[in-house]
Symmetry: C2
Subunit: 550 residues, 2 copies
């Protein structure tokens, strides 16, 4: 269970959320007020919100600490580890390292963790005899809404060592708190998408590629349910549509699921990487004329390279007209839904039939944490259930619709929800919003810095929609060269060479790739708001230092 | 990164391996001699082996500790957290809690962790500037074989906060140590399977169901590669074979991949749940006569309910005769390969084309940790690659065959290998063997205890092959009832009722299910060797206490 500590430690570095009370380090210590408290004063009408924390972080940072730490760390440690009375209820994560003067509260925090750990081993060692303190109220409606502390405490059972598979999401009886956390969080995400009452269904999956695969499976099941039993030969030739800039997982899903990748039709994009809706409609008509059956359209919210957002409303109009499944791949851009400033880029997402949204990308949750969200209730179950009676017994004494195992293509699933839930509790919706707004500000800073700078060319015009800033660095020797194949060839080599030198120097690392007919260019992406403007300045200095003589 | 601590904390409870030096808590501190040291004295000729640790654990256990801990925990804590000089090189995990007198070393161990954590925050806070200390030797052959400490230290970069996706398995440059760990460990697993030189390929996937799905995909690609491009309509009607006792994921793979679940043909088993080879051959012939094309046979090594091992050699003979892909689903039973005493149950596995093996089941690795292993090199890549140039640049300055991303159906993958690798380093192959042998001994103890006990009936005759012990408890009221439908109906209700009472009492929990025409029976599975005979005695007492008056 100690991975809960991880979330704490990591949040200290890449964010300054309000500190979750140390007593939440183990599920057995989670208090009711630390669960979803929609009615308590710590939440506002947007739900899930928590106190706003000032982000004036730079003044508090590590410069001063580093020196003092160096001095202290060689000293006698017995003094460092003196336990003192600490009021954790007034402690915020931003007070911990790397904050200035953060060492003492950090150590006190960690000592509290040590105490909980050692106490915990003592109190849970007896295996079977203390295994599960279930009570009848566990599976009542009240439990699900109130999640009172007594019931939550019972979940400490999940760590007893006599059950090999208790920390997985599979059935309610095995992981009741995690199942409920997943349900509540998915519902909250569906509300944020804009589906009425947050209705629908969903799952956390092992990544965006699998989430996208789910969307194609569910679309197929919706229109051709007999494929589940009889195979693809029971359906006509089905075609899927996605942009040429979309993630390769849509094409991969086509190959894996038996559509064939040539039946994944790539749509043209404008110069900024956004699908051209007219091209979609033309290709639908063309496919129908050939006798194929259009099934599914993927609209990307935040493409991998350009960070482009396809025009969802225009695409949704076409999908409605031709009765096609609309999926929005928001693996990368879904996080912007948390930002009042930027969520307009996903306008129309509420019209989607399914959405992929990876909190492990833009929202900074440690990998893996990806959600597939489906508007129609029950269809995930219908699509994937095999009714394995030996695993899912209908005669249990609780509501077995909480057993999620049979609607996944996996059997037991890793518990991806807890770290996300804990982070959401710690940062609040506003914390995520600040995180995202900050990352976009930093990208804007980079964009403004280089857009007119000598030696740079932007890959597309105008401010990027997401944090992807795509650019070429043109070394002085190329600046005087006439445009043409020779310059292209040389420019193609620049980014790989600079990256290789960066890696050998060990100073920094930045990605590059070609795209379509465009030769290799750099793509700088910011998803961690601990990055500073000086880091970005450093990156540009480094590119110029290493690339100047190429 | 603190999840490494978890592995430590958990191993303390469910095993007594040699303590990994605290300095390995972070990858940046891993020393060369802690990596795969095939030539050092700590390894013997079976490779991967470590010092044998005595398992005489019970005498050291927690009983005495609990009392003293209770007393201490209410005391002044400042004294508990006094740092003392501790020689960790002589400390073993079995010396930590819940061992008798384990509190002090445990606290010292955790204080060391606290120190590493706080030092780590100080030394890595500067984001981009210290990001990656790559050196040229990182991608030389020597690196891969020697993994010298300097290079490993460089991998500390993975935790710098400016890269949102550095703790995932995707490309070598992003996670070089983890990529190498995965490759070395998969090779070791293939050697243990018995494939020449450990050749072949493999991946860690998010679970056994996905691993099994990979096997079907690869088989399809082997025989009908055009399906990848053209879809299932490019192939004849393909059929898959698996036993009626096999895991439902094979059928699910059939549905997902577009074969259709009616084309997954279920094979008859003997009374102990093992495939009847003659039935396989008969069904192959029957399918061919109908014009279908047999493609794939799954042999289960350790079925979910009975723990049965299909006769792999007999099945392999048939697969060779009819040129079919042979997959062994060893998700549950694969761990027995680590046991010299029990691995004969998987005889013939070296003839398989692919193997699923979940270290997160019988070997006690925390979920998720599942491997799909394939005998033919390159076929995973061929099956799954989409050649996404924007993600996998061929012009990098290292050997890009180490970029594993494109052979997975996922994009970035969670790092499942590290905990397994660390556990293997800590326990050694012998440690796993002891773990497994111990679990089987405990099951044998349970079997012997109840096989002739009044009020019990075994679901199948003879000693179970795996740790699954399947039995009915017959309450006194049913013992006098004549066999027939009425008794069956009543017996069907017994296990659910007892389980519900167990959960309400909170004393223990044990699974049940029906199977074929057999009414609900208990299935007791041991996969954690911390379980004791007294736990098993308690379970039986509890069943009798709760079930006596039913």
């Amino acid at each position: 269970m100690a991975w809960i500590i991880v979330s704490q430690a990591e949040s200290v570095k890449d964010d300054r959320p309000r500190l979750i009370r140390v007593s939440t380090v183990f599920p057995s210590r989670i208090k009711a007020e630390d669960m979803f408290c929609n009615s308590s004063p710590c939440c506002n009408d947007a739900g899930f919100l928590q106190k706003n924390n000032s982000l004036d972080e730079k003044s508090r940072m590590v410069g001063a600490f580093k020196e003092s730490a160096k001095n202290q760390m060689s000293c006698d440690n017995s003094e460092r580890f003196t336990r003192a009375e600490t009021d954790f209820s007034n402690l915020f994560a931003r007070d911990l390292l790397p904050a200035k003067n953060g060492e003492e509260p950090t150590i006190q925090f960690l000592l509290e963790v040590v105490e909980i750990l050692t106490n915990y081993v003592a109190s849970t060692w007896s295996c079977l005899t203390n295994q599960s303190r279930w009570s009848r109220s566990w599976w009542t409606a009240e439990t699900r809404s109130s999640m009172e502390s007594e019931q939550v405490r019972a979940h400490g059972a999940i760590t007893t060592p006599s059950n090999h598979d208790l920390v997985k999401l599979f059935t309610y009886e095995i992981a009741p708190v995690f199942v409920l956390m997943e349900q509540l969080t998915l519902k909250k995400m569906r509300e944020i998408i804009g589906w009425t009452n947050g209705d629908g269904d969903g799952l956390f999956s092992p990544g965006g590629a699998i989430s996208n695969m789910y969307s194609v499976m569910v679309a197929r099941y919706k229109y051709f349910p007999e494929v589940k039993t009889k195979g693809m030969s029971a359906a006509p030739r089905l075609v899927l549509f996605t942009s040429e800039h979309s993630h390769y997982s849509i094409k991969k899903a086509g190959a894996v699921l038996g559509f064939g990748k040539e039946n994944v039709i790539l749509l043209k994009t404008d110069e900024r990487g956004r699908v051209i809706p007219a091209d979609l409609e033309a290709k639908i008509i063309d496919a129908k004329q050939k006798g194929y059956v259009p099934l599914f359209v993927n609209a990307t919210a935040g493409t991998t390279v350009y960070g482009a957002f396809d025009p969802i409303n225009d695409i949704a109009d076409i999908c409605e007209k031709y009765n096609l499944w609309l999926h929005v791949d928001g693996a990368w851009g879904g996080g912007l839904l948390m930002s009042r400033k930027h969520r307009h880029k996903l306008s129309g997402i509420e019209r989607a039939n399914s959405v992929t949204w990876n909190p492990h990308k833009m929202m900074g949750v440690p990998l893996q944490c990806s959600a597939i969200l489906v508007r129609e209730k029950g269809i995930l179950q219908g699509c994937n259930s095999m009714c394995a009676g030996y695993l899912f017994q209908p005669d249990k004494q609780y509501d077995v619709t909480y057993d999620t195992g049979d609607k996944a293509i996996q059997c037991g699933r890793h518990v991806d929800i807890f770290k996300f839930w804990l982070m959401w509790k710690a940062k609040g919706t506003i914390g995520f919003e600040q995180h995202i707004d900050r990352c976009l500000e930093l990208s804007e800073y980079l964009y403004n810095k280089i857009k007119n700078r000598e030696g740079y060319e932007m890959v597309f015009e105008g401010q990027p929609q997401h944090t992807n800033v795509c650019f070429w660095y043109i070394p002085p020797s190329l600046r005087v060269m006439p445009h043409g194949d020779k310059r292209r060839e040389k420019l193609h080599m620049v980014a790989p060479k600079i990256k290789a030198m960066m890696m050998e120097c060990g100073t920094t690392m930045v990605g590059y790739q070609p795209q379509g007919d465009k030769v290799n260019f750099f793509r700088m992406v910011v998803s961690n708001h601990a990055v500073t403007k000086s880091d970005i300045d450093f990156l540009i200095d480094e590119i110029e230092r290493l690339g100047h003589d190429l």
